[in-house]
Symmetry: C2
Subunit: 297 residues, 2 copies
């Protein structure tokens, strides 16, 4: 079967839907690419576009989207709650099937080179595509946002990987490669938000927990429950079942049960198979044993 | 994506590999059909052939296989440990993707009608395709085997669904539809076979356990362990995780842990997703959330 890459550009327009539609339309026109979703948020003034397909098609669709966004979006006129530095703010490439992370890094570099050369937009490679350790972290790449970067881009440490060290009205774009992200929420049988806060603090990497987990405590007052809301940024490194078992143990220490969980949006098949194999104690399970996979490859 | 049916004919030849090869070759020649496996057993003098593909192709491949086996195999000359009544002994159709059980029953009836009419071989519809309650059970359909059926086929209760009420040298064939079967083995941290026997008895449907579970106790003397070896004949009705949790509970009653498990051969994707969702407490999970499925349908 074909190689599949996913791409999730974030565009700095979430209010003018004519602009959003024009940007999304660029993706629709590329053969071999499936537009999976787009979601605009007016408060953030930002749209997240998700598409997937064979690598060359996905690269072409990402290029067209970045070009169109640069034509239509003026960062000097942009306001929104979400941090941003460019018309297209960030473009991650994600390996989905029969594609390595190195191939996604290569796509990021090819897109970055073309965006810098043809559109004169500064490009920062981030996460797995980063050329400097401090640029692995997107928040660090975007520090100061569009307004602050106008000046700081002239310093050696903020020099872009491609394109000029000068910001135009389209700002700068972060282009990178990363594993699929899974939004995984776990609900606790208590209304005590302090317990959720303590567990979120214990599990998130930034305060000593799992390196690939971001976590927030959320009050679900209507249900009389609280939630650990997580972004699992690398489910091969930190699997869903390990995060859940950790939360179960921490919650049990307060005499609190896990009452349910949810995956918001999409999840890679392998993450679900890993969880099934773990709990069923299938120590030698291979995804080649999936009947459908044997038939379709 | 295309509909997929699996078919697993059992043929009464496991020693003469020229005959086996000729029968298997019939399947290979049909476009749209993938030969997944064939396994000959000399003691059983029997070969299990597994293939899958779009329904019409699978029907055609099954027809050609039955025809070739009838040409090459003489039941009067057949001996083996496994019960059998025909050159092709049994032909189950199994729904794999976007196919209902009713469609597989229809395939069974169409194959049966043609085998009866063109090959003059008696056909019994069994399991989900059965036309009488007592024919749901394959062992009941095959009672007396080839030798006994020569006489009993003349009685009203053994009258075939298609074809003549007379046995030729190709014998009779059972054709039916059933869910995918999963071979699921659970290993216990004890060398005490009596414990495995007690648990196998408790879990199998025939002695009061789960209706869709067949189970045997197996001694794994080399590992100092014992095993509950199961055939899960309907993982939607009795899921893997429910069988495992039952075994864990029964074993704990002896102070014995489950030390591992294995799936032998293939497993439907849904059975693994059901296990993952159960243990992760994903009460509203849908297979539409699988990233690969969103891309490929």
């Amino acid at each position: 079967m074909a190689k599949v890459v996913e791409c999730i550009p974030n565009v700095s327009e979430g209010r003018n839907l004519a602009v959003v539609e024009a940007v999304v339309a660029e993706v629709r026109q590329v053969p071999g690419v499936v537009l999976l979703d787009w979601a605009s948020n007016a408060d953030h003034n930002r749209t997240v576009v998700t598409f997937a397909g064979e690598p060359e098609g996905v690269l072409e669709a990402a290029w067209r989207l970045v070009k169109k966004a640069a034509e239509l979006i003026d960062l000097d006129a942009h306001q929104g709650e979400h941090p941003r530095m460019g018309a297209t703010d960030v473009v991650p490439f994600v390996p989905v099937r029969d594609v390595s992370m190195d191939e996604c890094v290569e796509l990021a570099k090819r897109l970055g080179e073309r965006v810098g050369r043809e559109l004169n937009i500064p490009v920062y490679l981030y996460e797995k595509a980063a050329t400097r350790p401090e640029r692995r972290n997107l928040a660090e790449v975007r520090r100061g946002q569009y307004e602050g970067l106008k000046e700081s881009i002239k310093t050696p440490e903020r020099r872009p990987d491609y394109g000029p060290a000068v910001l135009g009205k389209a700002g700068a774009v972060a282009i990178g490669a990363r594993p699929p992200l899974v939004a995984f929420n776990v609900n606790l049988g208590t209304a005590n938000l302090e317990i959720a806060k303590a567990i979120a603090k214990a599990i998130r990497g930034s305060s000593g927990g799992f390196v690939h987990v971001k976590a927030l405590a959320v009050d679900l007052a209507a249900q009389g429950q609280v939630q650990i809301s997580m972004n699992m940024v690398d489910t091969q490194g930190t699997p869903l079942h390990r995060a859940l078992e950790f939360i179960r143990r921490e919650a049990a220490n307060y005499g609190v049960p896990v009452v349910g969980s949810e995956i918001v949006g999409l999840v890679p098949l392998q993450a679900m198979l890993d969880a099934a194999a773990y709990y069923l104690q299938l120590h030698d399970f291979s995804s080649e044993q999936i009947l459908e996979k044997r038939v379709f490859g």
